[in-house]
């Protein structure tokens, strides 16, 4: 054998590894999405959306309200002094036009939900006592909205820790602002965006001390510290919705609303990284079905039953592996028998 004319395989592998590293770095450049940039992706397109506001059905009428409530200050004439006065608008009374006109309720006029009496200024003090409609008030029992299963959501929410602990203070609006709410899980094909959008709803209170304190006198826990037991924390935060572990998942509801007390939250890796995992119940079940139709051969053929790491196996591959393994042992066994007989 002439060693000098041949190359040691280790050098070949080393070169391949180098090439692989370059491809890897290039590929990572294209698809790295940090939690921060996800948040920006989520928020910025809406705030930068350019559209003709007046093209919306009730926009001209809504402008009567938004000329004050659409900005951080409002101006009125003082009847006694006759002077124009600028006042700061309370932040919770501000409705962003950009957010409202991309929301699900964008075709509504303000007085569809609020009293007609708001048409006069200054508004009567009694109007503050106005009862606010909940989702069920409009969407309950309506065939048109049956697929959204508002009644099931309402039942799940009523059983949730949010409803149980905070009584009537905690309404749908705590998480779904009717002025800005936009359907997401069903319409967005970008899984990461859906996850970021849904988690932002939780973080609005659990990540913001000002909103958190509106509902409780408890000290707000540090979410990073509370989840320090979680391996690959950053990945979990960007790839899993809070509700996957903190709400009871039901097959029929795409978005679980039965948020459970923290002691009942999922803490076992196997619950997700295992056969029949809870993730199959909602979002991922929906996504996998969609993916088989959309993403073609590789995913459709090989990853029908797989989710992430662990035992969500492809049964066909299992059977093939078992056959190869059995065959190998069988051949070894026969070979050994023949050798033994031959040696006698």
């Amino acid at each position: 054998m002439n060693y000098k004319t041949n190359i040691r395989p280790a050098w070949v592998v080393l070169l391949m590894l180098l090439g692989f590293a370059i491809i890897f770095i290039l590929a990572k450049r294209n698809d790295t999405v940090s939690p921060v940039s996800q948040k920006t992706q989520q928020v910025e397109p809406e705030s930068k959306t350019i559209f003709d506001i007046l093209s919306f059905k009730n926009a001209p009428e809504n402008e009567n309200c938004l000329k004050c409530h659409g900005q951080s200050k409002y101006t009125f004439e003082n009847n006694e002094s006759g002077k124009m006065v600028n006042k700061r608008m309370y932040s919770e009374l501000i409705v962003s036009r950009n957010d409202f006109y991309v929301s699900n309720h964008r075709q509504f006029k303000c007085t569809d939900c609020h009293s007609e009496d708001y048409g006069t200024f200054p508004h009567s003090g009694n109007l503050r006592m106005e009862a606010k409609a909940t989702c069920i008030d409009c969407h309950g029992g309506d065939e048109k909205y049956a697929k959204f299963e508002f009644e099931k959501i309402d039942t799940a929410f009523m059983a949730s820790v949010h409803s149980q602990k905070h009584s009537e203070d905690f309404t749908c609006w705590m998480c779904h602002n009717p002025h800005t709410y936009k359907i997401n899980a069903r319409s967005n094909e970008n899984l990461k965006e859906t996850i970021a959008y849904d988690n932002l709803i939780c973080l609005n209170c659990h990540g913001d001390i000002k909103n958190y304190q509106l509902l409780t006198d408890k000290k707000k826990p540090n979410l990073i510290d509370k989840h320090d037991w979680l391996p690959n924390q950053a990945s979990h935060f960007t790839s899993v919705r809070c509700i996957e572990c903190h709400a009871r998942n039901e097959d029929t509801l795409i978005v679980a609303h039965h948020v459970v007390p923290k002691a009942m939250a999922v803490r076992k890796c196997e619950s997700c990284h295992a056969k029949n995992s809870i993730l199959y119940a909602s979002l991922y079940k929906y996504q996998v079905e969609e993916n088989i139709q959309k993403s073609g051969l590789i995913k459709g053929l090989f990853f029908r039953e797989t989710s992430t790491i662990g035992p969500d196996q492809n049964q066909t591959l299992n059977i093939i592996s078992l056959c190869i393994f059995g065959l190998t042992l069988g051949i070894i066994f026969l070979h050994a028998i023949f050798r033994y007989k031959n040696s006698k």
């Binding site: 054998m1 002439n2 060693y3 041949n6 395989p9 690959n232 196997e270 995913k299 035992p311």
Partner: protein, 207 residues
């Protein structure tokens, strides 16, 4: 060609230490890997324990592989893995014929072990495939699963993590198959145990 009963010093200490470490780690990784893959409450090794042990053993294996890799770049041992392409297929077939027919007719092995040629063509092929394809694949994919953040998000529309997982499982499975065959073939020596002894004292006994 060596005379009968010649003892050749073929396995220096570093090779033997590496080989034993590797064998032990592979066994641990196969057992814990199976426990993770087929995890259920009745699995012999608990999921949490299996994951930790698998991660630690995998990391040590990667380090041990790096030492093997460097060793074979710069020491004489790397020469045994160099494949002479010309006529290699025929030589492999000759070795295959020996294992399937010749061995039962008490023929002499077609490629006896010498100081310059430690492996027969089939060994050479399988060891190169194992050490320079499967093991690097299993280590790199393992790294991608250990730190999912570094894994590419999508490859041709499929999840990067799923592909990495599949590569890891497939490579791990093939290594397991290799181990079964490797251990059995080690019984084909001067005596059924002589090759195992070689890996302890470093001397190969020709038959």
């Amino acid at each position: 060609m060596n005379s009968h009963n010649e003892r050749l010093y073929l396995y220096p200490v570093w090779i033997r230490v590496w080989h034993m470490t590797n064998a032990l780690l592979c066994l641990i990784l196969i057992i814990t890997g199976l426990s993770i893959q087929f995890s259920n409450p009745s699995t012999v090794v608990k999921f949490k324990v299996a994951v930790s042990v698998h991660n630690i053993a995998g990391t040590i294996l990667a380090i041990s592989y790096a030492l093997f890799f460097i060793g074979n770049l710069f020491t004489r041992n790397g020469v045994f893995y160099v494949i002479e392409v010309k006529g290699f297929l025929n030589r492999m077939m000759a070795q295959f014929r020996y294992y399937t027919i010749g061995i039962f007719r008490n023929e002499s092995p077609p490629f006896p072990v010498t100081v310059n040629s430690k492996f027969n063509p089939l060994q050479q092929f399988s060891y190169v495939a194992l050490m320079y394809a499967l093991v690097p694949l299993v280590i790199l994919s393992g790294l991608g699963l250990l730190y999912p953040e570094i894994t590419v998000n999508s490859i041709m529309g499929a999840s990067g993590l799923d592909i990495t997982d599949l590569i890891h499982l497939a490579a791990g499975f093939l290594i397991t198959i290799f181990m079964c065959i490797h251990i059995y073939f080690c019984t084909i020596g001067k005596t059924p145990t002589s090759n195992f002894k070689s890996m302890i004292d470093g001397y190969h006994e020709s038959h």
